[in-house]
């Protein structure tokens, strides 16, 4: 039982462990620089598009290992359209709506061929990849298009001020020291887990003496943790009431604890810098929505079912063609959204934007444990896969390793991740 459960644990959390190991590795090799608040902040801001595109890509991959190669071009195409609209002085809200709509239409167009005409997704989207890259050039006339709309940039995370304003901290900077004192008294009162958290608060409070600590960010983080813990407890209690064995209660508890600690660590880092980057809100929103859809709704279930056995799903009364269509239409929508984030971050649109984004999205799904044959994969996997790639990029950049080697390492990581997946399946058979 002992060894069995350990190997099962390792198998289940291989990539989480890998992420931790890689993170520790870079913490050492960069002598802690990767842990600095600005770097944590950049890790999120720079990789926003991977999370968003990876989420869409996961749905496509779930339907049977199908991928969408066109997303990089669609990101560029929608971004270009939006940038031009804003440059012509149209309101940014209109531009955002048009960008999302164009993305959705492109997705529906490709989804139509894939679902109802049975064009292989690889080919349909390869065609899209060429076509929309070319059309981006046409739209932008081959030049870069600048964006001056301040509100747009701020809302979607571009420029210097793309952070949630500090409602509380601005007034209470002087209160920081009292927070630290309070934290200390808490620390003596309770167990060690709290001690370390309080100690972390203390150190941040100390740094806040020199720079200012973003209290809004900190409060938001604590509220999120509280809600998360409450919901987890509620779930366990209700399942127990209905007499459903919830499996390993201790394991569940540890999982909640680790996730809470992680959220706390990130919020502290962000609070030490400039607070919550607006991109993070968007990423979190997308991940939450799709995490919920894939695990709790009927349509989410159908993505898995179609990828697991298309014929059986069709004979169960599911419109499988519609499922394919939705996967690709949704991918287009999210590509449009990633286009918004991309041009906002850059402050302008360029005909070369988004090159290779599709590959990053695909890779993060597979690293996160999605099956290349479909039917298996999770949003949490996408988070882990995207984070792992982000950490590797960031770590190597800080170490001063050239981009060429970075690409080579990413390739190796992808291969190893899929190897682990394949080998663990082989063992079972």
């Amino acid at each position: 039982m002992g060894t069995g459960s350990v190997s099962a644990f390792l198998k289940k959390y291989t990539m989480v462990i890998a992420l931790v190991v890689v993170f520790i590795f870079f913490s050492i090799t960069t002598s802690g620089k990767i842990l600095l608040p600005p770097n944590i902040n950049n890790l999120i801001s720079q990789n926003g598009y991977v999370f968003v595109l990876g989420t869409g890509m996961l749905l496509c991959i779930l339907t049977g290992g199908n991928i969408d190669l066109s997303v990089g071009s669609v990101v560029c195409f929608t971004g270009g359209i939006g940038a031009i609209m804003m440059q012509r002085g149209l309101p940014w809200i209109l531009a955002v709506i048009v960008m999302l709509a164009v993305g959705l239409l492109v997705g529906m167009f490709q989804g139509f061929w894939i679902a109802w005409v049975s064009v292989p997704p690889f080919i349909a989207t390869l065609a899209g990849m060429y076509a929309f890259r070319g059309l981006s050039n046409v739209v932008m006339g081959g030049y870069s298009v600048g964006i001056n709309d301040e509100t747009f940039l701020r809302v979607f995370g571009g420029g210097a001020d793309c952070y949630i304003p500090d409602f509380i901290g601005g007034r209470a900077a002087s209160a920081a020291s009292s927070v630290a004192a309070g934290a200390e008294s808490v620390a003596t009162a309770t167990e060690s887990a709290v001690t370390s958290a309080a100690a972390a608060v203390e150190t941040t409070a100390q740094t806040a003496a020199s720079s200012s600590l973003n209290l809004t960010c900190l409060v938001a983080g604590i509220v999120i943790i509280a809600v998360f813990v409450l919901m987890s407890i509620k779930g366990i209690v209700s399942r127990q009431k209905k007499g459903i064995s919830s499996g390993n209660a201790a394991g569940e508890f540890i999982k909640v604890l680790i996730i809470s600690a992680l959220v706390l660590a990130i919020t502290i880092k962000l609070a030490q810098y400039k607070g919550i980057p607006t991109v993070l809100i968007w990423i979190a929103l997308i991940l939450l929505i799709y995490g919920y859809v894939t695990s709790n709704t009927a349509i989410g279930r159908y993505f898995y079912a179609v990828g697991g056995n298309e014929k059986a799903t069709r004979l169960s009364g599911v419109n499988t063609k519609l499922v394919y269509f939705i996967a690709y239409a949704n991918m287009g929508l999210l590509a449009g959204f990633a286009g918004i984030l991309a041009v906002a971050r850059g402050g302008h649109a360029e005909p070369t934007y988004g090159m290779g984004y599709e590959m990053d999205a695909i890779a993060s799904c597979f690293i996160g444990g999605a099956s290349a044959y479909g039917g298996v994969g999770k949003i949490t996997g996408v988070i882990i896969g995207a984070s792992l790639m982000g950490v590797i990029n960031q770590g190597m950049s800080i170490m001063g390793i050239s981009a060429n080697y970075q690409s080579a390492v990413k390739g190796a990581v992808l291969l190893i991740a899929v190897l682990v997946d394949v080998l663990s399946k082989k063992e079972k058979a």
């Binding site: 069995g4 209700s238 399942r239 209905k242 459903i244 709790n296 709704t297 009927a298 349509i299 279930r301 898995y304 079912a305 697991g308 056995n309 014929k311 059986a312 799903t313 069709r314 004979l315 169960s316 009364g317 599911v318 419109n319 099956s371 039917g375 298996v376 063992e427 079972k428």
Partner: protein, 513 residues
């Protein structure tokens, strides 16, 4: 006594956590046909994989003595070099290649960088003739039927100079006629001195071809029965397989209360989806009453599955003409299974792995798939409810599994079949069409499936059971339709039906191609 060609001594093979074979002993005489029987998972295929080197020497304990010497096979090539050739249950042919190319795949004639195609095809033709095929070896595999493909597999084995031929379920995908031809071919080979081992579930075949029968149960050899006179009693074999006397293979129907006509089709004619000139179902009229079990008996390829699937929302072929009535009302179903499910019809496929279950998902997910709406609110699934439903059916159908979170792919065939039934029972149909509900599952699980069918009928559901096992149809049905060459060629009450008059109805109708 003839010479012992093969002896497997004290073979033990362990997989992580499971002892698949435990001190197995097998003796095969030269020139005999030796049958290996046992329930699913008993270890028959594992034993053959040990013999052929798929599990190489060193991964198992025990000795293989072949032709007087101890063998240590590392790969399939080693065992084939000695003339031990295995033909697996799943056909291993490439559809887009010719018969000749397939026969010499991995065993090419000529030089490594220059295949001698002339020799290939000349030799291939020679072996094809030996198995009674008149096709040229230049025909593509996809152009010949399953029965002939199986013969190509045998020709392929002969081309490897087989001395000991192992056939794993060779007739599982063949119709009765092709099966018989294959068995006769085996008897012909025996006369020429070939030694064969056959693994099969079909006990009538065992008693027809085998000289000796070895029974395997739970990874051990139980006994070897002599069948020199080919007259062994099937119950005698079953007793060895399950370890106890099975007094009754079919449970008694209780509470038989047959009501109104629930579903009726008339003038039902369906075109083949690719060849519109062929009618796969021709002018079929039939009905089923509430609380009734109706058997449809026919050989494979008679059009039974096509009939069932075309009723189930035209999920096969194109409906040319025909009227479907449910509860006396004419219904025109749209071309989608959804519409059929909404009209309380369920079709439980014959191909549970291909068309029925999602092997990569849990029992829970499979159980709820066809009726997610009933446990969802505003498109959101109530997962706790889902768990309870799956749990309820697990208990009701006695599915053997540690938990409903178990992946369906890890279950045995019988338990998979139960999950498939659970899924369709949860869809709350009034009419259940069960297509070969007991195919490829062992005797114990079969009995339990029969009990479920009886319970469904007792609950007032209409059950249509399609089967090519005559004893099953005779024992389970209230009424029997006989199907042949796309038509219903006979209808009789179960009380009047016998093996003889059913076969007579089929023969009388001829094979009207």
């Amino acid at each position: 006594m003839a010479k012992i060609l093969l002896e497997m001594k004290n073979i033990t093979k362990t997989f992580p956590g499971v002892k698949a074979l435990d001190n197995v002993n097998l003796k095969v005489e030269e020139g005999e046909i030796h049958a290996l029987v046992g329930e699913n998972g008993a270890g028959k295929s594992t034993l053959m994989n040990v013999l052929s080197g798929i599990y190489p020497y060193g991964t198992y304990e025990g000795d293989i003595i072949y032709d007087g010497e101890t063998c240590k096979f590392g790969t399939i090539k080693d065992s084939e070099g000695k003339g031990i050739v295995i033909i697996h249950q799943e056909l291993a042919l490439v559809p887009e290649m010719t018969i000749g190319e397939n026969m010499y795949l991995g065993n090419e004639r000529g030089k490594k960088f220059k295949i001698d195609w002339d020799t290939t095809y000349v030799e291939a033709d020679k072996y094809l003739k030996m198995v009674g095929l008149s096709e040229s070896s230049k025909v593509l595999i996809k152009e010949i039927g399953t029965g002939k493909q199986q013969l190509v597999e045998i020709a392929k084995a002969l081309a490897k100079n087989a001395r000991l031929l192992i056939l794993d379920e060779p007739t599982s995908s063949l119709n009765e006629e092709d099966s018989r031809a294959l068995l006769d071919l085996m008897l012909g080979f025996k006369k020429q001195g070939m030694t064969m081992i056959i693994i099969t579930h079909k006990l009538n075949e065992v008693s027809y071809v085998a000289d000796k029968i070895t029974v395997v149960r739970d990874g051990s050899t139980i006994e070897t029965i002599d069948n020199a006179n080919h007259d062994i009693d099937e119950d005698r074999i079953i007793k060895g397989m399950v370890g106890r006397e099975i007094t009754n293979r079919f449970p008694k129907r209780e509470n038989v209360k047959i009501g109104e006509i629930n579903m009726e089709v008339s003038g039902w004619t369906v075109q083949h989806p690719l060849y519109p000139e062929r009618n796969v179902v021709n002018d079929v009229s039939m009905y089923v009453r509430k609380g009734e079990v109706v058997g449809i008996y026919g050989l494979m390829g008679a059009g039974r599955t096509e009939l069932a699937m075309s009723i189930f929302g035209q999920s096969y072929g194109n409906l040319l003409s025909g009227v479907l009535k449910i509860n006396g009302q004419e219904v025109r179903l749209k071309k989608s299974p959804t519409d059929a499910i909404n009209h309380k019809i369920a079709y439980v496929t014959e191909d549970r792995k291909g068309n029925g279950l999602i092997l990569s998902q849990s029992i829970k997910v499979n159980t709820s798939l066809a009726n997610l709406d009933s446990i969802s609110k505003n498109l959101v699934i109530d997962k706790d409810r889902e768990y309870q439903v799956a749990e309820e059916y697990r208990e009701k159908l006695k599915t053997k599994t540690p938990s409903v979170e178990q992946l369906v792919g890890n279950l045995s065939g019988g338990n998979q079949q139960k999950v498939l039934l659970a899924k369709w029972m949860f869809a709350e149909p009034e009419v259940l069409i069960l297509d070969e509900p007991t195919r490829g599952i062992d005797v114990g699980a079969k009995y339990e499936i029969y009990c479920i069918i009886n319970d469904l009928a007792a609950a007032g559901k209409s059950v249509i059971m399609i089967s090519s096992e005559l004893p099953e149809v005779l024992a389970m049905s209230d009424r029997i339709y006989i199907m042949n060459a796309s038509r219903i060629v006979g209808e009789m009450k179960a009380s009047e039906a016998t093996q003889e008059n059913i076969m007579a109805a089929i023969l009388k109708s001829g094979r009207g191609d």
